[in-house]
């Protein structure tokens, strides 16, 4: 019992003191995956877009990908923001 408690406390301490818990990774995609700008992708609050044949990333809030206003393939950091820049118009 005591060992478990100590283990939990150590784990909690490590979790609290590890900066890597704040690491965020955007989607690992290519322009091909994004249809060369036709769609974008979102993961961990980072939106991946294809601009001029190159994948670019936009940092949003950590839980931005799961917001209710999000539309798959047309992710935005905030509802009022313009769609992410792209070479081609996004499909409706």
């Amino acid at each position: 019992m005591t060992r478990r408690l100590v283990t939990c406390l150590v784990a909690l301490g490590l979790a609290l003191t590890s900066c890597s818990v704040l690491n965020r990774e955007g989607p690992a995609v290519t322009c091909d995956d994004l249809h060369y700008g036709a769609i974008n992708a979102c993961q961990d609050g980072i939106i991946a877009s294809c601009l001029h044949g190159k994948v670019t990333y936009t940092l949003c809030d950590a839980d931005a990908c799961d917001e209710s206003f999000q539309v798959p393939g047309a992710y935005r950091c905030a509802p009022e923001l313009e769609k992410p820049p792209s070479d081609e118009p996004m499909p409706l």
């Binding site: 301490g13 609290l16 900066c19 890597s20 704040l22 965020r24 990774e25 990333y57 940092l59």
Partner: protein
């Protein structure tokens, strides 16, 4: 910034108070001796007689005890008087240091804080290292305080000294040789008389005085008497009067004139010598005084004879003029006394002649008395008391 100052400041803020634990004593006997130990209240005096002077040394009272000299080792361990503070500091410091290490190790896994990158961490690896380092430093700092306290509270304080442990008491009234009494009142008493204040001891606790100055000259002091010394009204000892007696005897002897006595011009020329002998019969000059009186005796006898003859010479005609037996015997008694005292005195011949003539006169008076008495008794009435009659006749015939 000076690290020493930082450490000092840290310690001033966080260091626990360090004190000493209970003493542990270890005794090892070295030697034995006798020693003085202050004992109660009271005064003990040393009295010394140097000729006619008396030296009084006043001391506090001590007792003389057997002592064992010990080598005493007293050990006191240093102890942390507030260990809970160090426990808190140490635990907090350890937690911070471990956390700092974890942050440092973890900093290798922290992504850059580049907003244009696929990976992102708001802290970034360099900041994580700074945080980790800071935490480690802070933890070590706090732990250092606890460690310093641990070092401060380790070890012991020890000192060794030689101490004397008292044992059996040998005498409970001895002078404390290292503790004299200054300004002590010294008084002197002779016999049952009132004490006379003599003076006060000096800073060295000593007063020297001459008893002769404090005992009235008129007081007869014998050689076997006692002088009582009082310190602060308490009797502390007695001295023999022998020295005072000898001093006064010598002074009285020196004041007498031997020639006045041995070549007397008056009957009382040796009265002083006689008084001296009466007062100092056991003095060292008593024999000399007796010799002087013996030598003076013939001269004194001659003077007394002369004086006695001057009185007796005037008594001779008075003696001869008496006409009854009673008055004759009374008036002539000085002549008979003189003859008995001075059988070869200056008035020997006139006194002898006077007494011879008086003897004849007395014989005639006695015969007359016998005749008178016989006639008187015959004349007594018959039947009267013979005793009363005889008494009446004796009275009648004596006149």
């Amino acid at each position: 910034m000076n690290w020493l100052n930082v450490a000092g400041f840290s310690c001033a803020v966080g260091c626990a108070p360090v004190g000493l634990g209970p003493p542990k004593t270890l005794d090892a006997p070295l030697s034995h001796r006798t020693g003085e130990v202050p004992y109660g209240l009271g005064t003990v005096a040393k009295l010394e007689q140097q000729g006619s002077l008396v030296k009084v040394s006043a001391y506090r009272r001590c007792k003389l005890v057997e002592q064992t000299v010990m080598r005493r080792t007293v050990t006191r361990e240093r102890v942390n008087l507030a260990p809970e503070l160090d426990w808190a500091l140490g635990a907090t410091g350890a937690a911070l240091a471990v956390s700092g290490v974890v942050v440092l190790v973890d900093s290798g896994s922290v992504y850059e804080s580049n907003i244009d990158s696929r990976t992102y961490n708001p802290v970034g690896p360099s900041n994580a290292r700074v945080i980790g380092g800071t935490l480690v430093a802070a933890g070590l700092g706090l732990a250092a305080v606890a460690l310093v306290d641990q070092a401060r509270a380790s070890g012991f304080q020890q000192h060794t000294e030689a101490v004397a442990v008292d044992g059996k008491t040998l005498d409970d009234r001895v002078p404390c040789s290292q503790s004299v009494i200054a300004e002590a009142d010294i008084a002197l008493a002779f016999g049952a008389g009132e004490p006379s204040f003599v003076g006060r001891t000096g800073k060295n606790g000593v007063l020297t005085f001459e008893p002769d100055a404090f005992i009235p000259q008129a007081l007869e002091v014998g050689p076997d008497g006692k002088l009582t010394i009082l310190v602060d009204e308490a009797p502390v000892g007695e001295l023999s009067t022998a020295a005072l007696y000898a001093q006064r005897e010598a002074r009285a002897y020196a004041a007498l004139d031997a020639k006045l006595c041995t070549e007397p011009s008056r009957v009382d020329a040796c009265a002083g010598w006689q008084a001296f002998l009466a007062r100092y019969p056991a003095g060292i000059h008593a024999a000399a005084a007796r010799d002087i009186l013996v030598a003076a005796e013939p001269g004194l006898v001659a003077l007394r004879d002369k004086a006695a003859w001057a009185t007796v010479e005037q008594q001779i005609p008075v003696c001869k003029a008496q006409k009854t037996l009673v008055t004759l015997d009374a008036a002539c008694k000085p002549l008979r006394d003189y003859q008995a005292t001075y059988p070869s005195g200056v008035g020997r011949e006139p006194v002898t002649k006077a007494l011879e003539s008086i003897a004849q006169k007395r014989l005639a008076l006695e015969k007359k008395k016998v005749r008178c008495t016989a006639a008187c008794l015959q004349a007594c009435e018959r039947g009267s008391d013979p005793v009363t009659c005889a008494a009446a006749c004796d009275t009648k015939c004596t006149e």
